[in-house]
């Protein structure tokens, strides 16, 4: 990303998010910050709130939008209200199990949602803490696994189908969906290993879906972008079932931008010059701050 921006004549300084960062921003006063920090503080809105306080412009969604997308259950609710399907689910805190008894909660969840299920920490990414559950016995371990990452977990009915992600870009003229990318993990599960082992997943651009279904996926991605109040750049993930219905899974306000990420694949496939898109996003961030 830094290379792409530099190639477009922008001066880029890369900084780690450490204890000296805020002082650095205060003294150097960069025109724009592009937060690429994954995980908490990078994606829970905190860093963007601080940037707002410092009066520093940044690329990407506002603190509020980022917070809503970071919280998977909240994001599902908001996106669903905009008319986009999302898998049936329940969000459970550790306290719920403690107070109501684990056995009764687990059996109620398994009976009501049915199997298979996917259990995820309510916050986080990279499939960390995620388990795929095919029997009631596995559900207990999946909950414990998720609770080591967050105190709240999302239990979702697993929708079987084609996994696709859609990058949304908004450089000031409204959000537009870039070519969707189909994800096919060779192991069958898009888990941490499949995500970060080069070659363990195959990507298809365009996805092996009919044109009508692709158009629906793009439309629903834009709906999700609006529903969460996002800005500039996001990646929206879906499963498309055999009937062609896209089911919203989650939104990332800071999609990976390395040469191996699906967002870059999508931009390449759609014929964009990646550095040019990044540069346009920086200009958009500058324009956003000028307006405010």
């Amino acid at each position: 990303m830094a290379d792409g921006l530099s190639a477009h004549g922008l001066s880029v300084a890369i900084r780690d998010p450490d204890a000296s960062l805020l002082a650095y921003l205060g003294s150097e006063k960069p025109d724009v910050v592009w937060p690429v920090l994954h995980g908490a503080s990078g994606e829970d809105g905190a860093l963007r709130d601080l940037l707002d306080m410092l009066g520093v412009s940044y690329v990407g969604s506002t603190a509020d939008g980022t917070r809503l997308a970071w919280n998977k259950p909240v994001a599902k609710t908001l996106v669903n209200r905009s008319g986009v399907a999302t898998p049936a689910s329940i969000t459970l805190s550790r306290d719920a199990f403690r107070e109501l008894g684990a056995e009764s909660v687990l059996s109620t969840v398994a009976e009501s949602l049915g199997l298979p299920l996917v259990v995820k920490p309510a916050f986080g990414g990279s499939a960390q803490g995620v388990s795929w559950v095919h029997s009631t016995d596995e559900l207990r371990g999946a909950m414990v696994h998720a609770f080591t990452y967050a105190d709240s977990a999302l239990v979702e009915r697993q929708v079987l189908g084609v996994e696709v992600c859609v990058t949304i870009i908004d450089t000031g003229d409204g959000p537009r969906a870039i070519q969707a990318v189909e994800i096919e993990p060779l192991s069958g599960r898009y888990d941490f290993e499949a995500r970060y082992t080069a070659g363990a997943t195959r990507f298809y651009t365009p996805p092996r879906l009919g044109e009508t279904v692709q158009a629906t996926v793009h439309d629903h991605a834009v709906l999700a972008f609006h529903a969460l109040g996002l800005r500039h750049l996001a990646r929206i993930d879906f499963i498309v079932d055999s009937a062609g219905v896209p089911w919203f899974l989650e939104a990332s306000t800071m999609p990976g931008l390395t040469e191996t990420s699906s967002t870059v694949l999508a931009l390449d496939a759609a014929g964009y010059e990646v550095g040019g898109v990044y540069s346009a996003l920086v200009n958009s961030a500058l324009a956003s701050s000028a307006k405010s």
Partner: protein, 434 residues
Amino acid sequence: MMSPGSGISLDPWFDNYAERASGLTASEVRALFAVASRPEVVSLAGGMPFVSALSFDKVSASAQRVLTHHGASALQYGSGQGLPRLRERILDIMALEGIRASVDDIVVTTGSQQGLDLVAKLFINPGDAIIAESPSYVGAMGVFRSYQGSVEHVAMDEWGMIPHALVERIASLREAGTPIKFLYLIPNFQNPAGVTLSANRRLEILDIAKDNGILIIEDNPYGLLWFDEPPPHAIRSADDTGVIYLGSFSKTFAPGLRVGWVVAPHGIREKLVLASETAILSPSSFAQMIVADYLENNDWKGQIDIFRGIYQERRDAMNIALATHLPTIAHTSPTGGFYMWLTLPKGLDSKEMLPRAITELVAYTPGTAFFANGDGRANLRLSFCYPTPEFIEEGIKRLARVITEEIELLETFGPSTSAAPLARTLDAPPPEVN
């Protein structure tokens, strides 16, 4: 990258890799270690020696002398067996542990890890058994696995590997028709358990190995780092025909120089040299000369004394912190080396607990890293070599909070009833994690 009809692969050669590369995948646990080096995290995970205790002036003087007086040869290829001058100094070091050998018996390697790799390359066919302690060094198991060997663990107690358990394991492997290629042992301040093999058992195990025609690989990086009294003499001191000895300057001097050595019986040594030349042509002449010069011109035994004092103080700090903050947790109390081995309360899982620990800003190595069979969830390894006593105290305090949280979770959900899946990758921190 693009192949019509087959989609895009980020590694178009993915289907071409050898079977032995199948474990070289991304791992969630390894990703967690990526944050362990951040300053706010107290890392009790890695095994980085505290090299700041070295006199950099003295090391710098050695490097300067090497370049001034031997620059042309220091920057040139060298002997595949290693610099004779350094091999002579290695004899002095090994004499401290009772080993008598000749300069010709030694092969200098790029760290003793390369020695392990060479031995594995020479001996292991796919499916061969390698007997090791339970638990054992993750780096060795990774090498054995890469040659498609099968690590077979033998139980230890506070005096090291249990001889009758070894006899039973040999018998069961023989009965199953599995070839046993060697017995891998870390007799002193074992990694990860911190246990030292008793003098009697060294001889007993040597006899068992001889009786069964099994070669012993004696890996001894920590032997000189004793606290109260030296460990028993090396196994190699009692037998020069059936033992391959691995030594290293990584713990007693500087791992950044990557200099180790192998002492092997004549026939094996010849093949080791050829195998090493095939792999790397020759170990670094420059690094070998720096080590040799340092040993010749400095009080290296005094420097090891300094290291021992530092590590002993840190071991003591960890003992006190564990007694204060985790008084009911069972742990080994090593008399040297770098590591302590903890046994968690029943039902807790060290691998599952790691994300919470990282969130609490403390890192450790889950016990699963040290078993080839999926065991070790009830254990974890703590390193006391790198953090200061103050950081050790803080780290244990944080670990205590993590364990308390996990116990609460266990009380809510009860113990796991499903078997843990076998990890395809080893859950150990990369070498640069402190």
